[in-house]
Amino acid sequence: MSLSSELCKTMYRDMWRIRLFEEEANRQTSLGSVVGALHMYCGEEAVAVGVCSNLRDDDYVLGTHRSHGHCLAKGAESHRMMAELFGKATGTCAGKGGSMHIADFSLNMLGANGIVGAGIAPATGAALASKLRGTDQVSVCFFGDGAAARGTFHEGIGLGALWKLPVVYVCENNQYQQWVPRMNVAVLDSVADMAGSYAIPGVSVDGQNLVEVYEVAGEAVERARKGGGPTLIEARTYRFYGHSLGDEEQYRPAAEVEEWRTNRDPITTFQSTMMEQGWLTEEEDTQIQNEVKDEITEAVRFAEESPFPTPDSVTTDVLAPVQEVA
């Protein structure tokens, strides 16, 4: 296992960054500073962090409507993300995207997405671009279990498999699709089993276990980078909050939520592992958490103090500025 204590601490910190960023964004929503929908990633942190910790800066990531975690794990700055949620001009998307559309092209984070399943074929396309350009960049697409029912899932993965592209498809199977339990509307419980249709490896992994996710993703990323083609990873996970804020959650038992929150929290699970292995002392733990708290406080300050976009920006970015054709 290639896990160094240093890497573990970084991953641990990244999970906290996601957790605290979102809890703060949630609080800011109740204060009225953050508007629009907030799809909370809390509970699924080990998936984004375990996967993205295997990636290089120039690898591509595409996400979903629930992508705060994917963005932060790929290295996006929390203060610019917070400013985006506030609808400020300094946000990652200049206040034009909001929570569901955060993107940071300087990190090859090609975007969260408001359309379920919309990232899968474009991730395949980014992988095709790497192949055409002769780089060894890998492309990763996160998507929910709900997305596996869409045609884009089949068409996108089908092409990736056909051309053996360097892409890793990561399904976050949190067992719900908006307000519907997955098995009310699905035939196959396991999304990993669908990989057989494309003759690519399909692996199911405990999405609450950072070490497992890290290792499974590591193999998939390496296979992709070396020309071995795509992998479909299914991370079995759970969202601690409702589908988006304001969800009354009548469709799932409170006891189930409680069970996952108490016994299957990816952060506390990894915390125990690290302590047991001697990778983390209590002092270091406190320090990490305090540093992250400070980062998030700073993010809110930055967002609050930032200006709103000016009215003239309504009409910019629709198309590139007109250029003379050479």
Binding site: A37, G87, M100, H101, V116, G151, W179, F308
Partner: protein, 323 residues
């Protein structure tokens, strides 16, 4: 008369129609567990458990199933959670549902209703706020209906369900909770009929969806400027009631057309062109459109308020055509 919300009126129409005709069924995402995002399908699963289908996220599948069932004698009411996602099922709408009757020499009938929650809601930005009525107006074989009040919502949904051909039924998210009078029981508003909501002599404002209410408010403000404004609710964009619209414009001699969508190549443009062609000699000023600028919906509330047209845009447009 009772008052109901827009959602309640739609729900009532659905329940009454399903009671009346066993071939009607509902299909869409989250329609059982949650009654859809706007609770329009609430209570149907309890009352008609065999005629409501909660689906995976598979818009093309949902729409295609609707088309097939309709051709085989059923009357599906398809709910697309947000109209933006109908783009994931465009083949089924445009190449299948719309073309079947014509292509088969009149053999096929596709009596389906496609319900489309649309427009800006709670700031969900570019992929959850679109309207695009004109996309579907442009396709022969489709009908496009836009109710603006709870009463019309009920009457138009009933007609849409009874129509032998596909209907795209636009429901503006921001008016689901608006209240209005709704007749009990059978209440039918035929497709293809505009409604004069306010009589006036000086100018005609033709409005679509939520712009109707805003036009009525603008008309009150314009009284202060001495303008007596007539407001016409288009209600049905395809077929379009050109007769009612032209009769009004010819009488007043001035026309403003208001839609919430981008007016560039939008529904308002078709109406404005139709007025220009038919009423030119009665017009005493240009036909002006009010709509949003030709941009995707931004996220920031500070930007959104410069996109969605408001009452002030209408008063300004009327003053302009009256000059």
């Amino acid at each position: 008369m009772r008052t109901l919300t827009f959602s309640e009126a739609l729900r009532e129409a659905l329940h009454e129609e399903m009671e009346r005709d066993e071939t009607i069924f509902v299909i869409g995402e989250d329609v059982i567990t949650h009654g859809g995002p706007y609770k329009v399908t609430e209570g149907i699963a309890e009352r008609f458990p065999d005629r409501i289908f909660e689906t995976p996220i598979a818009e093309a599948g949902i729409m295609g199933v609707g088309v097939g069932a309709a051709m085989a004698g059923m009357n599906p009411v398809v709910e697309i959670m947000y109209m933006d996602f109908v783009t994931c099922a465009m083949d089924e709408v445009v190449n299948q549902a719309a073309k079947m009757r014509y292509m088969t020499g009149g053999q096929a009938s596709v009596p389906m209703v496609i319900r489309l929650p649309c427009g800006v809601g709670r700031l969900l930005a570019a992929q959850h706020s679109q309207i695009m009525e004109s996309w579907f107006m442009h396709v022969p074989g489709l009908q496009v209906v836009v109710p603006s009040t709870p009463g019309d919502a009920k009457g138009l949904l009933k007609s849409a369900i009874r129509s032998p051909d596909p209907v795209l039924f636009f429901e503006y998210k921001r008016i689901y909770t608006s209240r209005g009078q709704v007749p009990d029981g059978e209440h039918i508003i035929p497709l293809g009929q505009a409604k004069i909501c306010r009589d006036g002599e000086d100018a005609t404002v033709v409005a679509i969806g939520p712009m109707v209410q805003k036009s009525l408010e603008a008309a009150v403000l314009l009284e202060d400027d001495g303008y007596d404004v007539e407001v016409v609710d288009a209600r049905s964009l395809s077929p379009l009631d050109s007769e009612t619209i032209c009769e009004s414009v010819s009488r007043t001699g001035h026309a403003v057309v208001c839609g919430e969508d981008s007016s560039f190549a939008g529904a308002a443009s078709e109406i404005a062109a139709m007025i220009g062609e038919n009423c030119f000699r009665d017009l005493n000023g240009p036909v002006v459109r009010v709509g949003s600028p030709h941009v995707p919906m931004p996220f920031s509330s500070e930007l959104v308020k410069h996109v969605v047209p408001e009452v002030a845009n209408i008063t300004e447009a009327v003053s302009r055509v009256m000059m």
